[in-house]
């Protein structure tokens, strides 16, 4: 297996696991929890390391999971005290645990083949060199086995508990009333998160795992309105960030993990601006359309009312000058609105400087006159 392929596969597995779990973190408004756990599992890893004496995987995963659950537990205690908001509670718990890990590493640096640099930033470039053996046989890169297994576990977990996670995220009270313990599900989710984070440690590091947990999920959230689609999109975005990021790093000769996070960030910024439903551009366009629709309604209402034929007289419409004074619009705006209405065949320039409703326009006004905005709002759909 070429080392490029190994790196891409490891990166893809890490990104996919993080992106899947990240959806639930984002929807539960607990993105910070990923941050907290990714730091707080450090002492668990170090202690497992010291006890096992080497970098065997199982003790590390166990140590991290235990610390993950402890983190969640401590945060809950803090939140439940009602003197701490959840964010403050997280902010108290994770630096405390993380610093214990830092102290352990620096104190036992001699015995521990684990340096802070590696924990914080990860080094995915070395993953192809670290092979897993079964007796004398080479099974392949260790990181790939670990992160591949974790991805399968995460996918199986979400598949098995999809409905339960969905309801306990959307409406925890109903979930509890129906007998799906939100607390149990919360701890299960957090345990899976801790396990994922340990795997991600070696490749993207503790800091950048946060990016993989939150950014693809937040991007997907901007792009869809269905949970299943969000999970799929988030996974695709995570894998794409990691793949594109790797090649970007090669081009720039820069940190691989850093480049992956940057690409994820670029994806997010793009969605933030250009998402068809939630993007800033689409929102601005919608706002403008709505404003124009409103202006059209106003203009038609005004012309309709003020040019009702009086007894015996033929209606001559409204003077544009009067309308300008009446609405206090810029002349260009009045022209634009009038043109749009003319195009729809609702308004007519009877003679220079005068506007009048057509028969179709009067009818349209009759239809929408009750609720002036309905027309504009319907244009939204």
């Amino acid at each position: 297996m070429s080392s490029t392929l190994v790196i891409l596969l490891v990166g893809g597995c890490v990104a996919a696991s993080c992106a899947l779990l990240g959806c639930f973190l984002v929807l539960r408004k607990m993105a910070l929890m990923g941050d907290a756990i990714s730091h707080a599992v450090l002492p668990g890893i170090v202690i497992a390391f010291l006890l096992a004496g080497d970098r065997s995987t199982l003790p590390m995963v166990l140590g991290a999971s235990v610390l993950g659950v402890i983190t969640v537990f401590l945060v809950e205690i803090g939140t439940r005290s009602r003197r701490l908001q959840e964010d403050a509670s997280i902010g108290v718990v994770f630096p405390a645990l993380f610093s214990i890990g830092v102290i352990l590493i620096s104190r036992y640096a001699g015995q521990v083949d684990l340096d802070l640099e590696c924990v914080l930033y990860g080094e995915i470039a070395y993953t192809p060199l670290d092979l897993l053996y079964w007796g004398d046989r080479v099974l392949g890169p260790r990181a790939l086995w670990i992160n591949g297994s974790i991805l399968i576990a995460v996918a199986a977990f979400l598949f098995a508990f999809y409905k339960e996670l969905k309801i306990s995220t959307f409406d925890p009270a109903l979930a509890a009333a129906l007998g799906f313990s939100p607390v149990l599900l919360h701890y299960l989710l957090m345990t899976m998160l801790s396990i994922t984070i340990v795997g991600a440690f070696e490749s993207v590091g503790a800091i950048l795992v946060v990016a993989m947990l939150v950014v693809p999920a937040a991007t997907a959230y901007l792009l869809t309105e269905r949970l299943a689609t969000m999970l799929a999109l988030s996974t695709a975005l995570g894998v794409a960030s990691s793949t594109v990021g790797y090649f970007l790093a090669r081009v720039l000769d820069a940190s691989i993990a850093g480049s992956m996070a940057v690409v994820a960030g670029i994806f997010f910024a793009t969605a933030f601006l250009f998402s068809p439903s939630h993007g800033l551009v689409a929102k601005a366009a919608r706002h403008r359309r709505l404003g124009l629709g409103m202006a059209e309604q106003l203009l038609m209402l005004h012309i309709g009312q003020s040019s009702e034929p009086r007894s015996g007289q033929v209606s001559r419409g409204c003077e544009i000058d009067t309308l300008e004074r009446r609405f206090n619009w810029r002349p260009s705006k009045l022209q634009k609105v009038a043109k749009r209405l003319e195009r729809q065949g609702w308004l007519d320039r009877v003679q220079e400087g005068r506007l009048m409703l057509t028969a179709a326009g009067a009818e349209a006004l009759e239809r929408t006159g009750q609720a002036p905005l309905t027309h504009a709002l319907q244009a939204e759909d």
Partner: protein, 285 residues
């Protein structure tokens, strides 16, 4: 009425002797040291529309949540149709306050209604096609079948409330607990919800709803529970929903409900001064 809902009526706890829908004994609930509910003793009859009325912070929502086992009481117990909540879970439907969930959640109206069926499915089993069909029927019953695939944030407040009601219908329960089902909906929706509740009652179901509008209590409900941390009074509207009991519930803050002032009150419906908390701690209504 659709066939599956009809079936649930006949296969429910029918046939047994009428026993109280809800029995509450010596119930005390506190958040920290502040009591929210104090020594509540109560029996709610089956097959009626029951309003829970009281000022803000009177513990109405807490009362519902405690009945549903979402909050552990300090003392006392609750029985639903003669048994604890855990054994009666499938007989009970819950409509929380509309603001209690995040309507930006990426899901559709019919998906939310399908959640009402999750309880019957239990762990791991997935909703199937006929479950979705039932959900669509329930949406139809609340009059918004055409909005089934809408993302829920695109629904109006009244439509969101209807989605919640449809979800409760999908639970096919015997007793419906609703936290302010009429809050923030327009007159059309209010009438639609009312006729739905009446239909449920006519099918022999019990509806227990927290209600804020004092002017419609007597018109909408059969039975009333007046609550202000303690139970002030409970019983059929005619005997219980009296001026004296309302005075005791709302303290001196309630204008006397004589016929002369009633019209005035009607005009000021929604006046916040009617709903000032009196004794108990604010915050938990």
């Amino acid at each position: 009425m659709n066939s599956e809902v009809a079936e649930a009526v006949s296969t429910g706890p029918g046939g047994r002797e009428r026993e109280p829908a809800v029995e509450v004994h010596d119930l005390t609930v506190a958040y920290h040291t502040q009591p929210v509910l104090w020594d509540v003793d109560l029996v709610l009859p089956e097959g009626e529309l029951i309003a829970i009325v009281g000022p803000n912070g009177a513990g109405k929502s807490t009362f519902l949540k405690t009945i549903l086992g979402l909050i552990d009481p300090i003392t006392g117990w609750v029985k639903i149709c003669g048994a604890g909540y855990r054994r009666r879970r499938s007989w009970v439907a819950y409509v929380p306050q509309r603001e209690s969930v995040d309507w930006d959640f990426p899901t559709s109206a019919v998906d939310v209604v399908t959640m009402g069926i999750y309880g019957r499915l239990g762990w791991f089993r997935r909703p199937r096609k006929h479950d979705r069909e039932l959900a669509l029927e329930c949406l139809d019953k609340v009059g918004i079948a055409d909005l089934a695939d809408r993302q829920i944030s695109q629904l109006s407040g009244g439509q969101q409330q209807r989605v919640f009601l449809a979800r409760a219908l999908a639970q096919q329960a015997q007793i419906y607990f609703m936290d302010e089902p009429f809050a923030g909906v327009d007159a059309t929706t209010e009438r639609a919800i009312l006729s739905l509740l009446q239909e449920l009652r006519n099918q022999g179901k019990t509806v227990v709803a927290v209600h804020h509008d004092l002017h419609t209590v007597a018109e909408y409900f059969d039975h009333v529970v007046l609550l202000n941390m303690r139970l002030v009074a409970a019983g059929p509207i005619r005997e219980t929903f009296t001026e004296e009991n309302l005075q005791r519930t709302y303290g001196g803050k309630l204008t006397v409900l004589t016929q002369a002032t009633e019209d005035l009150l009607r005009a000021r419906a929604g006046d916040p001064s009617l709903q000032q908390p009196t004794g108990p701690p604010p915050g938990q209504s």
